[in-house]
Amino acid sequence: MKIKKFIFLFLIPCIILGHKINIFATVEGNKIYTQSYASDGGKIKGGTIEVYDKAGNKILTGITDSLGEFSFNIPKKDDLKIVVIGGMGHRAETIISAQDLPEIDNPKLEKTQFKPKKESVQSPVITNVEIDTIVIKRLIEDAFDRKFHSVIKLIAEQKKERVRFTDIIGGIGYIFGIIGIFAYFMGKKKNV
């Protein structure tokens, strides 16, 4: 019976019970990667991702995978608001500003990558060099994106906001302080 219940719990698509969820988004090449997690570090599986532009129009939606990740091609160069909805009243958002986004490349570039060398035998040398620079730049960027993806993920992992001990103690201090002030004024009234 107990096992059944446990399996059932595994089947519920997105249970997020930390009281807070977070989303971390990074731009890599032409893509935006997002990671969503709960305040206790748990990944948000099956959460809904919604992307809005500056005007507030919903551009795209998606579902996070089993690692709480979701990535999408940059739809347009604009301030993008990325919202994750975890159900049961949980929601978080982050904004990627337009200046952090690259110019959207034309997709044709990809297809012509290695062709120019042979085709441009008759064409002037300068064009050949120009195209080569674009291709090389593109290749380097791709390689960097691949190499740095893991590094960026690591940074995202470390940026996770967790509850700090000092905040807990501070909070208790605040409670006693505030109630102490109340008590002070109540006591004063009583004595008068």
């Binding site: 446990f6 059932f8 719990l9 595994f10 519920i12 249970i15 997020i16 019970l17 930390g18 009281h19 807070k20 969820i21 709960a38 305040s39 206790d40 748990g42 599986k45 159900g87 049961m88 009243g89 949980h90 929601r91 978080a92 958002e93 906001e161 509850v163 905040d167 807990i168 501070g170 909070g171 208790i172 605040y174 409670i175 006693f176 505030i178 109630i179 102490g180 109340f182 008590a183 109540m186 006591g187 009583k190």
Partner: protein
């Protein structure tokens, strides 16, 4: 249990805030000078309890302790939980500041409910009944708060039954643990400090 910023619609937020203000006003009126330390201790306990996670399947749920606050503080649960929730929102970003009213309303209303319905059991000389009163408070505190959260979510667009079911199911372990915990706390207080349970002068 904490509802985040931007989930609820404005009427629900305003409704929750109204309930919270009314409850807090009643609570503040009923507080006597000698109740202050008790309120401080339970407000702190509530503040910290949300950080204690209980693993449930793939994720975890956290303690709430609103039933315990309710049965000991009565109507003073409203100001106590409001203070705790405010600090949780400011320091840990648990629940949005705009949703503070709704969060207070859901958790403190169920706390007061526990107080009104189960306080009779605590007065009994029978230890078993005392424990039962504590258990029911801890259990119902979470259960009713869950239903109220589901209600406020459903008023903002979600469908009530599935949301309520999901919240209640994932909180079953929390309800049981809080029930047992509150039961033992009540037994312990009866033995060593019965005057703490003396919020019955209202």
């Amino acid at each position: 249990m904490h509802i985040a910023e931007g989930v609820l619609s404005a009427p629900v937020l305003i409704g929750g805030a109204t309930v919270a203000i009314a409850g807090t006003a009643i609570g503040l009126k009923k507080i006597e000078y000698q109740d202050m330390p008790k309120i401080a201790v339970l407000s702190s306990a509530f503040f910290v309890a949300s950080l204690i996670h209980i693993p449930v399947g793939p994720t975890s749920a956290h303690l709430i302790l609103n039933g315990l606050c309710g049965i000991i503080l009565g109507w003073a649960s409203f100001p106590a939980l409001l203070l705790g929730l405010f600090l949780q929102a400011v320091l840990f970003q648990f629940g949005g500041l705009t949703a503070l009213g709704v969060n207070t309303a859901t958790m403190a209303t169920s706390a007061v409910f526990c107080f009104l319905f189960f306080k009779g059991l605590l007065k009994s000389p029978n230890k078993l009944l005392n424990f039962a009163g504590g258990f029911l408070s801890g259990f119902a505190g979470v259960f009713i708060a869950g239903l109220l959260v589901a209600l406020s979510l459903s008023l903002s667009g979600e469908v009530f039954i599935p949301v309520a079911k999901m919240i209640v199911i994932v909180h079953i372990p929390v309800m049981i643990i809080e029930g047992i915990l509150t039961g033992f706390v009540i037994l312990f207080l009866h033995r060593v400090k019965p005057e703490l349970l003396g919020f019955f002068h209202q």
